[in-house]
Structure formats: C-alpha cells, structure tokens
Symmetry: D2
Subunit: 282 residues, 4 copies
C-alpha cells in the first residue's frame, strides 16, 4: 500500500486528494498545514500524523519513508515543497500550477535528476473526455483554428483576500485558474512562438480578457471568477468543446495515471507555465 | 431576511452553521478567520465579506448592522467574540462551550444587560429526541439514578496537536467534548452541590474516566476520542438512552429555536460550565 | 501616573515609545503583539500584561482603564486600533501615517465625537528645530518657493518583504516614509489644490521621484531607502533645511506635547494624508 | 570572510549574534523569521536576504553556500533547524539548549557524520572567567561539594505567555534558563548517575527549587524569573562563584572559539541536556 503525505491539508482542494488516495488504496500517513482545521482527515485516516511547522514535517520526512508527497499548498511554495519531498526520497504529486515561473522548472528538473524522483503535475483537464476528443480531432491535423474560450469559475469575495488573490502567492487569475484553459490550448494547438504575441484587454482581479497566438490557433479568452454560472467552454472554429461538468472526478483519474507511472511531467507542464508567465507580466 | 456574520469560518463546525443559516433563510454577510481556507462559503454566499484580522472585522461590525454573529472560534476566544458581537448591536449564537470558566459568564451577562442583546448557546444535545424523552421521564420525578455514560467521538492524531488538544485554548477533553454529556446530565438530573464530589480516575489527552455526584444522580463517565466506533450512550438505571445518531442535524433545529426567541441562554449553560470547570481543575 | 497600553510592541519603533513613556513618568500596563518577541519590555516594565490576540486585549481594555493607547502596528490597522482604543475610553497616540486614506479620518473623527477622546498623531518632523525655523521663515510670508527634497532612509532588503513593503499594508514608500517629508511641506507651504497637480517620474519599491504643486511651492522630491547615507534635506529656494540628524529624540518631545494637551490632531494630519493618498494612486 | 545565515532574526538574542558576527568580521547574508520585525538588521547588513517562510529559506540554502547557520529559534525547533543547516552544507551555531531531549542529540550526531558538518553549541557560561576559575579549582580534585545556586533572571509577565513559557516549545524554566546553571555544575562536578537522584520542591512557571546529586556534588538550586535583581551565584562549599555580571559579552567570546574550531560540541552538551530532561519530567 502506497504511503502518502499531504502538504496543505487544510486547503480547499485537499479533500479531493484524500478521496483519490483512498480510491487507489493509498494510506495518508502525515500531513502539514500551519492552519489546524484538518478535521476532514478523520474521514480518511485516523492515525495520520499532523504537523503545523514545515521544519518538523521536513525532519520527520528525513527519517520516514513515504512514497508520494502531495503538494497542495499556496502556489508560490510548490517549488520549495517539491524539493523538500524529492530530497526525502519521495515522488511528488503537485497541484497546478506546479510553479509560477519557468526558471523554477529547471531547478526542479535538476532535483529530479539528483534524486531520481519525479514530480507528477496535476493537469486534470487533459483527462476530461471532451478534451481528449478535441486533442484527437485537432492535435494532429495541419490546420489553424480560431478559439473563443469562455471560462468562469464563480468565487466569492473571500477569493480576492485569500492567498489566491495575492499575485505574489498565486500568480493571479491568469495563473491560478487560467492555467487550466491555457494548458489545454497549448496541449492541443502547440505553444506560442519564442516572442509571445498577445494582448490583454481586461485585467482585473476577477476577470481577464485577451487573445494570444499559438502555433496552430489564435485563442480569445474570457476568464473570470464572477458570480455567474460556472462554465468551461472552448469554441473551436465555431464548434463547442464543453468541460463545464465532469471536472471534480478528474483527481481520481489523475491518481490512477500517476501510480501506473503515467503522470504528467514537469516538461509536460512547461509550455503552459511559460505562457501564463508571459501573460502575467504584462 | 436575517443577516449573519461568522467568526471561525474556516473551522470544522462552520459548515453546519452555514447550512443552518441557509435553511432558515438567513444571509451570511461577513466572516472572520485568520486562516483563509474559506472556500466552502461559495456554497452558501457569493457576496459575503471575508476578514482575516479581528480588528478589521470588528471595525466593519461597528459600521454595519448584522442580526446575529455566530461564534465558532477556538473556545478560549468565545468570550471576547461574544463581547465584540453584542457591543456591535448583534445577538450572538455561540458554539459550546460558551466559555471556559464560570466567571466569564458573569462578564457576558453584564454585557447582555448593557447592550440588551442575547448570547444564544448551542446545546444541541438537549434537542435530541432521545434526550427530550429522558428529560421528561427522569426530570420531574423524585428519584435518584445511577448513570453510566459511554461517550466516544473518534478523532485522529491531529486533534492532540490542534488548538483542541491545547488545554489553555479548548479546556481539554472534559470541556471540549465532555460538555455535551455533562450538560445533558445536569439538565436532567440537576447540578452538583456547592462542593463538587467527584473522582477522575483516568485523565489522558484522549480519554477521561471518572464519576461525579449530581443532585439526583451519580454519573460514571467514560469519555474518549479513540479510534473506535462513535457512541453517545447514557445507561440510566440500566436503561440506555442513545444519542449516537441524529446528531449532525441538530444545528438546524438549534437555529429554528434561536430565531423564534427560544435559544438557550447563558444561565442555561451555567451548571454544565461550572461542572466541567470543576472537573478540569483536578 | 498615566497608564499606557501599546499595540505593536514587538515592532521597530515600539522602543522609542517605551522610552518616551518612561521619560514622562508613564506606566506601561499592557501590550499587544501577535509576535511574542517583546523581551525589550523588561527594560521598561516588569508587570506589564502581554496579549497575543487582539480580541483578548480588546476585552481586557473593556474592563480596565488606561489613559493612552499607543498604536504602532502596521499602518493598515491604525484605523481599527484607534477605534478600539477610543471605544474603551482611552486617548490615542498613533504612529504616522495615522491612516492610509482620507475617508478613514472622517470615521475616526466621528469616534472622537462619540467618545470625547482624541487621536494624537505622531508627526515628529514638525518638532525638529530646523523645521520650526523653516515654518517661521516661510509659513507666514506671501511668496512661492521651489523646493528640492533629498530624502533617503537606508533600509535593507528585508524592508521590501516585510509589511512595510506591501502597499496594501503600509501604503508603500510614498506613504510610509514620504509622509514625513510631504507633511512638512504642506505644513509650511500649504496643501495642494482640490485637483492635485503632480507627476511621479520614478516609482519603485525603494525610490520615488516626482514633483507636486502645493499652495505656495512646487516640491521636487527624491525619496528612497537606498543603501546610501541617511539624509533628510529640503532645499528651499536654494537654502538647505537639514533634518538629517536629531530625529530619534523627537518621540520624547512628541509625548511631552501630547500629555500637555498639545498633540497633533487628526485634522492636523489631514492635508498630508490626502496628499500621499493622491500620489499613491497614480 | 565567513558567510552567516540566522534563523530567528527577530528574536531577543539575535542581536547578540549579529554583533558577534560583525566582531569576527563575518557577513550576514540571509535571515529567516516568520515575524518580520527584523529592522535591527540594518545596523549589521544592508544586503542581507530576508525570508519569512522556512521552506523558501531552505530552498535558498540548497542553492547558496553559507559557512555558518546560526540557530536562535524557539527551542523545540533547534533540532529541525540544525538538520536543515547541515544538510545544506553549513556548520551550525546553535543557541542553548541545543535540543530538548537527549534522543534528539543522537539524531543530530548522525547528521554530523553524514554531512561532515558540526553543530557548535552556545554554552557561554563556560567561558565566563569565574566559571573557568571554578572549573580549575574543583574540576580535577578528588572531593565532593555542596552547592547552593541562586539564579534569578528577571522577566516580565510576557515571558509566561510567549513561547518561552510554553513547556512544549521551550522545555520550561528548568530547561530554558536552568540549562545555564546545570551545565556549569555538570561541567565542573560531573554528570548525575544513570538513575538521577533528585527532588524538585517548587516548580512554578517562574520558580524552580530543588536538589540533585551529581558525581562530585549535591546541588541545591533556586532558579527564578522573579522581578528581583538579577543574580547568578554558585555557593560552593560556602565560597561564592559569581557570574552575575559579564554575561552579555560572552557571545563574542563564543564566536571566536567557534571560528577557530574550538566550539562546544553536541557531546559537550549531552550531560546537561540529559539532566534538564530528567528534572523536567517530574
């Protein structure tokens, strides 16, 4: 039975990881979170250790074997937490975006080499059947597409005042939520050129509108966290690819892939990390 | 529509309050929590304000009307949070134990007088049908009973290292969880005498065993947070009163009572607060 | 003997307040700081209470009399802390900038009326002899001046990553440090017109260069926290007014004024608060 | 020029380390503290990096060379911080008590072996001239002494409510302050036997009185943090050895020893760590 440790166990997405771990028969043996609201653990593991201080968790890791460290901490710490995990001899399962800047990827790749461990990146959109279909239809063809993305994930006012609303901690809207849609686009239509050609027309804390040229598509995005129905629709040359539903179960799917050695790699994540970094630094 | 503000919105019990507020048609307008994992709010209120700092929340309260402030913060802060709420002109709904020490009650009672506001104490056990039946059966009769309480609420290791395991913050096991069972006993069988006659035989962070003389009963308790099935059983003169199930829905019931003016008062809570304070200070 | 409580006792400027309190024969009876590095207190008061949580400090204030609450917390909390103090029946001594936005002043003025208490604002520059001389020379005359301000207070890299470098918490360089120089200028040369005429040419986290039209002067400023000698020089029509030295003792002077009822008021602070707010929101 | 990084830079004892580093010509290149009140740094180093999160500091350490990491964090974290430092390739200078429990020493010794790095323990009392004299006089002789230790370091009420008053974080009075006096005694008079023969008569948060049998002495101690004059007096067979003055300069002395390779080792610290652990677990 695989042993898992979770960094960020009090956070919003942690229960999806706990559920996925249970579904693959894994065991949660330790968690870290400076916030002690981790009672949800009782649904999944009664003898799981809890650490409040990163240093003590790290020290424990140095003396105990875990197979996977799950990183679902604030984005700006992913980097350090992946390093902490690999150094201890564990593979990593890291929430999106795996890092905020492309240069952080190179550092993690060095640590992968040094430790022979792997960072598995959660890119659950790529596992959505509608996305897979689109990849098949458009990915291998010799064409150029015009895409309109309408992407809204409603979030309350708290979002702005949590770490997710702090651009230095989350990377901001384009990075924290946009990573989903931009990753899908570059996965299917290829990355942007060396010099990224794009325009951001609206850039608020709760909405981003703009367009960008990718290898085989121009993408117009309208991304928001408005109090309006959730939607994740990609209009590709007029045809809609709809990921609005079927999103929450994809963590389970991700875990199955990961434990069978087919998790997404740091290099898989690179093109979209590079893109959101470019779009962020307007 | 009543307006509610919640202190401790990232905590474990907060969603039950949010649910109960929705069920009575209330509106959550603001929350406070130093921990920003409050994404659960999106299920209940999209335009709710979020405050991380108590001072700023307090300042907001001083300028805005809310009908009820819900206090589900760590126990040692209930006191201060009830005061903050009443001073702002709001009634209070406070999680158990409303305070850690009886002297704190007196302070709050003064503030009730000064502000003409009320602290409604959550004592959800008293609303459980099995408890109501027992109260009817034993409460008014002229007898004396022998009670064995078997009370286990399983909690993982995190419990010990969260504020709930810190006796200065939670009051410890007898206070934080025991309040449920002791409140029921004194509600039905009357308080202890001025000098509390009791013995605590086991007192660990996860188990407490002892007995205490009440007005019309001797209560043997075995209270724990062990990794064993949940149980809340009172054997009264050999007959079992079982509250093991039907517990989680009682917050809704509590809220209905409160908004119709029948919430439990500080004086209602006094006998059990006094008892757990005595038992805690062994 | 006056009783003082200090909010922000672990911060950099707190010891100057402690010293000033001792020098006027005051007594420090309670302090608040979430950071518990308050050992410096032992030099000033051995029986001073220490609070880590604002709520508990506030509750204590509600039951105990202090004459002055000293507010030297992060700027964005001054507002709430002044309110907390006045509501408890204490006068306030508040570090600069007393608030971040002019609208916050109006709220505090209401509370002054409601409580008959006063917020004394620390504007120590105005007590510097060189400033007093300049005020006398230029303040009452009918002229117009051209001013170059060279103002550098060297700060290490930590500054950028502390709350002082977070514009939402400190107001940024123009507000947190610039308040000194802009206050002096508007004090002597009058406020800016309703529509503020200014230009900010450089605006980094550690340097701000620009100019602004005041009633009787145009001010060119070069404000920085660079690793270079400290300087606070105002060249007024070519004549230098130098406040570089003699700065640290001005807290004592401020306290003497305050306890004799001559502390600077919220209205005294208004023109410079308004100006830095305008310059900040470029 | 040696490069130093400091963990716990906002704490009370940090400036003594900064001063000692400057006096030996060292360079402070990075500091870590979750509390950002680190302005004191500006007296010592203007281009020193500041980290608020341990993980990011650790990551920085993994990419940059420092010669010494100074550990002056809360005691219960010394252990983890020493490990963090050695793993990064740095030697360590650790405040007293180096660890809370003897078993932690063994773990650190393993890491010393694994990394070929050294933990230098600050035991500044041993460098006090009066202590050196006493060691010479009593250390090598074949006798048995009766010792009365009167040790008071006055501390205000804050002490009790800071981490220093939390026995899980500091080890309590006997450990946090008593380590000084017990270390001197075992250094001069030898350790206690395998089974520690002792009695603690008074054990409050601000006073500890008791006696213990060492190899060549019986030590009666009266240790406190009362609001009374500071004293550190050892009456050995009626003769007084007085360390009351000359204490603060010993950090400089310690650093000189350390950089010349003569710092105290983990094994040097073992007997007193073992003793305070025994006395603590009454």
């Amino acid at each position: 039975m695989y042993k898992f440790a979770i960094i960020g166990a009090a956070g919003y997405v942690a229960p999806r990881h706990m559920q996925a771990i249970r579904d693959i028969g894994g065991d949660i043996v330790a968690v870290l979170d400076p916030c002690d609201s981790v009672g949800v653990l009782d649904k999944y593991s009664m003898d799981c250790l809890y650490f409040r201080e990163p240093e003590r968790f790290d020290r424990w890791l140095s003396k105990n074997h875990v197979d996977y460290v799950v990183v679902c901490s604030p984005n700006y710490l992913h980097d350090s937490h992946c390093l902490m995990a690999m150094r201890s001899g564990a593979d990593v399962i890291c929430e999106k975006p795996v890092v905020l800047n492309e240069r952080n990827l190179d550092n993690l790749l060095e640590w992968e080499l040094k430790t022979s461990k792997k960072v598995n990146v959660i890119l659950q959109c790529r596992l959505h059947h509608a996305a897979i279909d689109a990849k098949e239809k458009y990915g291998s063809r010799n064409g150029f597409s015009y895409i309109n993305v309408e992407y809204n994930t409603p979030r309350g006012l708290w979002y702005r005042y949590s770490w997710k609303g702090d651009i230095e901690k989350s990377g901001g809207l384009i990075t924290n939520i946009g990573i989903h849609l931009f990753d899908l686009c570059v996965w299917i239509f290829g990355a942007h050129k060396k010099e990224c050609k794009y325009k951001v027309e609206i850039s608020n804390h709760n909405q981003s509108v703009g367009h960008v040229h990718l290898e085989a598509a121009i993408v117009n995005w309208d991304l928001s966290t408005l109090n309006a129905p959730s939607k994740r629709i990609f209009f590709i040359d007029g045809f809609s690819v709809d990921l609005t539903s079927g999103f929450t179960e994809l963590h389970n799917e991700s875990y199955k892939k990961i434990i069978s050695g087919e998790g997404f790699s740091l290099e898989d994540a690179r093109p979209s990390i590079r893109l959101v970094e470019a779009l962020r630094n307007v």
